[in-house]
Symmetry: C2
Subunit: 427 residues, 2 copies
Amino acid sequence: MTQDSTPSGYEPLTVESIPARLKEIAAITERLGRDSSQWQAREVGDGNLNLVFIVTGPGGSVIVKQALPYVRLVGDSWPLPLKRAFFEYHALTRQAARDPGMVPEVYHFDAVQGLIVMQFYTPHVILRQSLMAGVRHDGLARAMGLFCARTLFRGSDLSMDTSQRKADLALFADNVELCDITENLVFSDPYFDAEMNHHTSPQLDDIVARMRRDIDLKVAAQEMKAKFCNNAETLLHGDLHTGSIMVTADETRVIDPEFATYGPIGFDIGMLLANFFMAYYAQPGHAETTGARADYQEWILDVVAGIWRTFEAEFSRLWRQERTGILFERTLFEDQGDGLGAEQALGRRLNAIWQDTLGFAGVEIIRRTLSLAHIAENDSIEDANLRGKCERHGLLLGRQLLVNRETFAGLDAMLDLARTIEQGEMG
Amino acid sequence: MTQDSTPSGYEPLTVESIPARLKEIAAITERLGRDSSQWQAREVGDGNLNLVFIVTGPGGSVIVKQALPYVRLVGDSWPLPLKRAFFEYHALTRQAARDPGMVPEVYHFDAVQGLIVMQFYTPHVILRQSLMAGVRHDGLARAMGLFCARTLFRGSDLSMDTSQRKADLALFADNVELCDITENLVFSDPYFDAEMNHHTSPQLDDIVARMRRDIDLKVAAQEMKAKFCNNAETLLHGDLHTGSIMVTADETRVIDPEFATYGPIGFDIGMLLANFFMAYYAQPGHAETTGARADYQEWILDVVAGIWRTFEAEFSRLWRQERTGILFERTLFEDQGDGLGAEQALGRRLNAIWQDTLGFAGVEIIRRTLSLAHIAENDSIEDANLRGKCERHGLLLGRQLLVNRETFAGLDAMLDLARTIEQGEMG
């Protein structure tokens, strides 16, 4: 595969061309039925990068996701190679092995077309929509805590055969262009007047100016960038926000890992928690009456707490039961009767992951408010004064988490700080 | 190249076969002369892994280094792929670009034969021999401090184009077998009763038993292993001890980077300083009369101090003048009139490198005393009681550097501790 330019033969699908173009693929006809004249396709891509179709036939439905050779959100002035589908495909197969049932089953992959045919989740909705509508989902925190612990532990040198991990590291090291998006949009653009930035103005102008003069903040953000770029601890989802999660009343699933790369364990968890914090602060912009979302806000904080606590418990369980990799080998600890040493190392490791989680959470909140890609929870608040207030709360929390990540007291202190910022005038 | 098994056509060179087998290689005949009947080869490999020949002809001399398909030190029971020559070749070309003149020029590389023909340094000797003989070398500390700063800074995301760095990361990620040696022999074997371990016994039995029960020490060693395995900050030499340095009275050169891999900046520096500390403690075993090496010991500590100070100064200079990579971009700092932010980040970065340096130095001293490969300075002390005393001093220092790396006061405190251990009975 020529990964740096669009291969000859590549052609974007349309709802009209899908039946003719996909009718020979057994993995699809098995599920939809062989008579492609009865198939119906509709385009549902609401993301920033790709074409996404639901294709339905007499036998069922599948998702057809096709990469475009540019960033959909921006247009063909921003080229982006099709090989991101290759990385999504490989990430999906690894996640499926590490936390079975949590990601769509892949039916077919076509590198030339940048095409993945995969399981259609129904009646699932994107979690971000629920967070705007004030809808609760049972088991969400537990499912996401388990997903993070299992995928992140089992993709690391704590678990994997190291030669296999190194081969995977080399494979995903080629996902350069999508990492480049993260490196720029997440870690650098928010901290200066970058071309694609936008923020609620003039309401946030003062805090934005202050943040761009804030040495401690800028240094901290770059330290997190260095960790993201260099600390290849595990295979990340790479874009684990609430738009990458699909839910029913009691099911949780994870999609869209095309930003997959090797990076620090805290990155996925931090990005995930950040998106819940932003949803928390956006609630006044969606409340039917003043205060009507107060209980729902507490539910969101419960989800944050539940994700971290589940992550911590499951990571600890895996540490004790599945630590088969080259790091912190049982040979040196349990096999010497030194279970305490293994527990000490676990505690220190969890503390380091916690610090990274806070740092990445702060970075994510700030970039989703000041950089190119914002969140629907805020964008859909029409009153700019109200929107600015919600966003300001997020920025205040994000700055505190990021700059003070190394000395933060713990989970309860984080939730208290989130509430205190929501309730008061903090700057 | 089939990198995981010995290719057909591979055949180890001998002093007899060298003229016939290499006479067609222009890069060699240019330097030795075309009449290969006048060439003379002698085998000088004193390392643990490879064949090394000096081949001399009427026109000059070259080094011919050939990988064996096993570990020379152990024999064919320990296979090791020839591709290590591939990584040495690529590391040499990168080091030559990053600190010109400090590594041998490569004249010819043959992947099938695992063969590198390169510049012969004469009248240079291996630094480790000088450290046993009590010989001083002008400019050593400065050259090594500069080498570390330049190769480590310029191979990182602080300097390189990031897509090129990621391609390099992927290339060197395949150096699995040599990393495996480091991962096992350096970071794990010393901390349990591993098969290939040996130590001066019974003189060190008590401290060895104590160290293997030392939870803080074992956890710290594994934390450094995790950094080595996961923190792909820059292209390392990977084996930067005093046997990889060649010197004259006033010239310093670096050889043998076949362990090259992406890893933490502090790894090379820490390993280097550790080898000077061990040479420091070994001096009583080589002194002509009691105390005769006291001044030389202080010279060794001056070299340690000089390496770190030069590294720090040159790294800072490069940070200020060549920070062209994606980390801590000038766009966010100097270009905003915020030079202070860039200096703050530099200070924090140097502090983090210092902590890693201490940790890796401690790990290196311990493994060179308890694991498979020891150092000639100690091995050549025939009196086991005296040897054990020298080695014990190293172990005491190594444990302190490693366990207390995060809270260590600084360079002077490190040198004072080294002296205090040398002078007293510490355990």
